[in-house]
Point group: C2
Chain length 218, copies 2
C-alpha cells in the first residue's frame, strides 16, 4: 500500500476548500490567522501558505496589511465563470482526437442515461457531474488546458455547492448531458460544443434561480 505523505499546506488547503463548500467558512468573512490555525491544529506557516495558494487560484483575496478574506459570492462573478468553462471545455473537445472522442461519446451516453434513473442528493449529483466531465476530457491531450479547466472549475464548484438546494431538477441535467454525449458519439464536435455551452449556461441559470439571495453581497 502506498502511504500518503502529504505536507500540511496541501491538507490545510483541502480543508479550507471543504469549509468553503459546506458553508462553514462564510463568504466575505475575514480570516484571523492565529485563530484559524489553532482551530486546524497547525501553526500559521502552513496556513498562510495554503491561503496564498488559494489566493492565486482566485478563491481568496487579500489586502496588504489587512490579511486574507474569503471572497464574497457575487452573482456577477458566477455568471462570468459559466461561459469561461464552456469555452474551455469546448476547446478541449476540439483538440481531442476525433476517433477517441467518438468512443468516449459512447461511454458518456451510458453515464448520462444512468443519471436520469435516480433522484439523489445534490452532493452526489455534483460528484457524478464531475466524473462525467472528467471522462469527457480524458482524451484531450492538452495538459495545460486541463490545468486551467480544473482551476476555473474549482471556483465554479464553490458557488454550485453553496447555492444549490438538495434535490433540484436532476433530470434536466441528464438530458443535456445526453445531448452532448450523442453529438460526440456521432463525431459532431461543433454540435457537442454548442450543447456543452447551453449545459453550462443553463446550469448556471438554474442555480441562480434557485439560490437564496442570502449569500450574495451585491
Amino acid at each position: 500500500m502506498a502511504i500518503e505523505r502529504k505536507n500540511l499546506r496541501s491538507q490545510v488547503r483541502s480543508e479550507l476548500l471543504e469549509r468553503m463548500r459546506t458553508g462553514l467558512a462564510k463568504p466575505g468573512e475575514g480570516i484571523n490567522e492565529v485563530q484559524l490555525a489553532a482551530e486546524l491544529g497547525v501553526s500559521r506557516t502552513p496556513l498562510r501558505e495554503a491561503l496564498i495558494a488559494l489566493e492565486s487560484e482566485g478563491q481568496i483575496t487579500s489586502e496588504n496589511g489587512k490579511g486574507f478574506r474569503f471572497v464574497p459570492l457575487s452573482a456577477g462573478e458566477f455568471e462570468d465563470l459559466a461561459p469561461v468553462m464552456a469555452a474551455l471545455e469546448s476547446l478541449a473537445l476540439e483538440l481531442s482526437p476525433i476517433d477517441e472522442l467518438k468512443m468516449v461519446g459512447a461511454r458518456l451516453v451510458e453515464l448520462a442515461d444512468a443519471f436520469s434513473d435516480e433522484l439523489v442528493e445534490h452532493k452526489l449529483v455534483i460528484s457524478r457531474d464531475d466524473e462525467w466531465h472528467a471522462v469527457m476530457l480524458s482524451v484531450c491531450p492538452n495538459k495545460r488546458l486541463l490545468d486551467v479547466i480544473e482551476s476555473v472549475r474549482g471556483s465554479f464548484h464553490r458557488y454550485e455547492s453553496l447555492l444549490v438546494a438538495e434535490d433540484v431538477k436532476v433530470e434536466r441535467v441528464a438530458a443535456e448531458h445526453a445531448a452532448i454525449a450523442r453529438a460526440l458519439a456521432a463525431g459532431d464536435v461543433p454540435a457537442a460544443a454548442e450543447a456543452l455551452r447551453t449545459n453550462w449556461m443553463q446550469g448556471m441559470r438554474r442555480i441562480l434561480d434557485n439560490a437564496s439571495t442570502a449569500y450574495f453581497t451585491a
Copy 2:
C-alpha cells in the same frame, strides 16, 4: 502622490518572474531556498510564499520533500498554451459590447500601424504587444475571464521571452494585428476571433522555429 506599499512576497514574485524571463533562472533548475533568499536579501518566508504563489500559477513545480524547481521548458507545453490563449481572448471579444468593440478597433488599427514603422528589439515588441492586447481586452466586462487570461499569458510570455532572438519578423506581427483590428472596427467579431487565433498560433510557430533547441529538455 500615492506611495506604493507592497509586501515582500509580491516583490519577490516579480523578481523571480523577471529572472525567469531573462534566463537568469534556468528552466528545470532546482531552487535552494536559503541561497536564493540570501541573494534576494530577504528571509525564506516571503520567498517561499512567492514560490507557492507561482506554483499555483503553473510557473514552478514542487515535490514534497524536495522543494521547488523552475518548470523545464517543453515545446509541447508552449504549443499547448497558444490555442488556450486564442480561445480565451476570442471569448473575451464575444463577450464585449459590440459598439465599444468597434471604437476600440479603431484605436487598435492606429496602434498596429505604428508597429510596422519601427524595427525595435524584442523586449519592446513584447511590451507593445501586451499593450495592444490590453487595449483589445479593455472593454470586456468579464473580470474572471481577464484574470484567467492574465495567468495563462504569464506562462506564455515566459517562453516567448526566453526563446525569441532579438529582431525577428516584426512586420508580420503588425500585419496580423492590423487584420484583427480592422475586423473589430468593422464589427465582425467572428473574423476578428479567427484572425486572433492565427495570430497566436503563428506567433507560437514563429517562436518555435527560431528557437535554439538548447533550452528544451525533451
